[in-house]
Subunit: 254 residues, 2 copies
DNA sequence: CGGTTAGTTTGGTACTACCAATTTGACAAA
DNA sequence: TTTGTCAAATTGGTAGTACCAAACTAACCG
């Protein structure tokens, strides 16, 4: 009778969960197209026959999952949006942080991913992309020539190189994994750019890898990658041998 | 003893976000140890000087992130818990689902992960673990002998084998990635168990892989893995009989 | 001693009221 | 007509109250 009744009222416990699941399902089944918005909280409250707080909590859950973006004011509401890698990356970051996963494990994982990505990139990326990668690595080298070398800039450039390479694999999952790792736990990577000796070696290694990718030489490219992570591992070992930091301290909770 | 709270009241907009971040930070810095619980909603309401709804939404966000587990009743509340792979896996599943990632990409990613895991497992797992893996794959074969072959049971067993193998890599990240993939998008794997012809081949392949891992023969183990995914790819191709599977994905993720 | 029951704690829900941000549109001024 | 301004409507954000439901506690009764 009404076109607005794709949702059904709830009567049992955990209404909030149920509502969130219903809306989520509606979004994933594309009953509400991306870019459109959900009914307002007060409308949903009427449709679900529940309090507004429940609706708010449900929408909040969707927001946290990255399914919707919430805007205020007239014409505001919960707009369905594309999920970004950042959302999953954040979850991954939390996971790694709470599990106290050491940098060695991260490096090992990253190396394995990098190796596969490199092989795929050589096989699938076109000449333009490969040459662009070489150009970008050259820029990284040139940055080191300049007098003032900003560590943040170097790290950002390094991240962008990783993402660019991942895109060249033509498999979106690798691209996502790379973005998630970058977002989640790339801090130990910056360590490579802390010490001037490693800094240059790392940049040169990036350039060498890019050139070997452009030359369609997978074996040598893998050698470069291995060298990169050997460098990183050495760096990690040196850092973790340093004295204890102040990580554990005041536990003043009642 | 309401003297020194580790939380500070907020006055600007987005109080809910702010509170959630404060509590999350407190949890991650282990100011509240795992297993303990946050103050009750009403206490937090007093500490933060805000409405209870705000507190509820903040705690709800933490629950969605998997940081806390909420229990009702006296002695209830938000208990800090360990993040499980399921939380991240759910995010990944949403991501894959909304991005419409095809099974071919998933299979490719899984194969690359499987290869690395296998190498690591051969190098790091002890003899007991390897033999247990062989035993489990034998069970899978025996299942096929029986008359009633429940597809769900086979699939579950297959999942457990994957997780077991991932654990043997001794790198928790691979273990997590495997769990996430299993949770997120393992449905096309079941396709292998749909058709009787593939069913037996897959089980035999699992057994062969396990034996070669137990024999510490990485090259042959990798061959088995490759065979497994060749089988899977063939199955996928048969199912999606109209594949114009070239990269139409150039505009889906930007 | 053991089972039952009442009370307390705490999350779950409903409802109301008001604030803040944003869009829309009416209306006045140039 | 065009443009600037302001009021109204829409909608999320917050505060507060009240009550229900679940779960633990402890007193009470057999």
């Amino acid at each position: 009778m009404t076109t607005t009744s794709i949702f059904t009222p709830v009567q049992i416990g955990r209404a909030g969960e149920d509502i969130a699941l219903q809306i989520e399902a509606a979004i994933l089944e594309e009953k509400i197209p991306t870019g459109e918005r959900l009914p307002s909280e007060r409308e949903l409250q009427a449709q679900f026959q529940c309090g507004r707080g429940v609706i708010r909590e449900a929408i909040r859950a969707l927001k946290q999952k990255g399914l919707v973006e919430i805007r205020k004011g007239a014409k505001g509401g919960a707009y369905i949006k594309h999920i970004e890698a950042a959302n999953v990356g954040e979850s991954l970051a939390l996971f790694l942080k709470q599990k106290q996963i050491g940098p060695g494990y991260i490096a090992e994982f990253r190396e394995s991913i990098d190796r596969v990505i490199t092989i795929l990139a050589i096989a699938r990326a076109d000449k333009v992309e490969k040459e662009a990668l070489v150009t970008e690595t050259s820029k990284l080298l040139q940055m080191l020539e300049g007098p003032e070398v900003d560590k943040e800039t170097l790290a950002r450039h390094d991240r962008e190189l990783n993402i660019r390479l991942a895109k060249m694999s033509k498999n979106p999952i690798f691209e996502w994994v790379m973005e998630a790792i970058q977002l989640g736990y790339s801090s130990q990577d910056y360590a490579l750019y802390d010490q001037p000796g490693y800094r240059r070696k790392t940049a040169e290694n990036w350039h060498a890898t890019a050139c070997r990718i452009a030359d369609n030489d997978p074996m040598k490219a893998l050698n470069s990658i291995a060298a990169h992570y050997a460098l990183l591992q050495r760096c990690i070992d040196e850092i973790t041998e340093k004295p204890e930091n102040d990580a554990e301290s005041n536990e003043t909770y009642a």
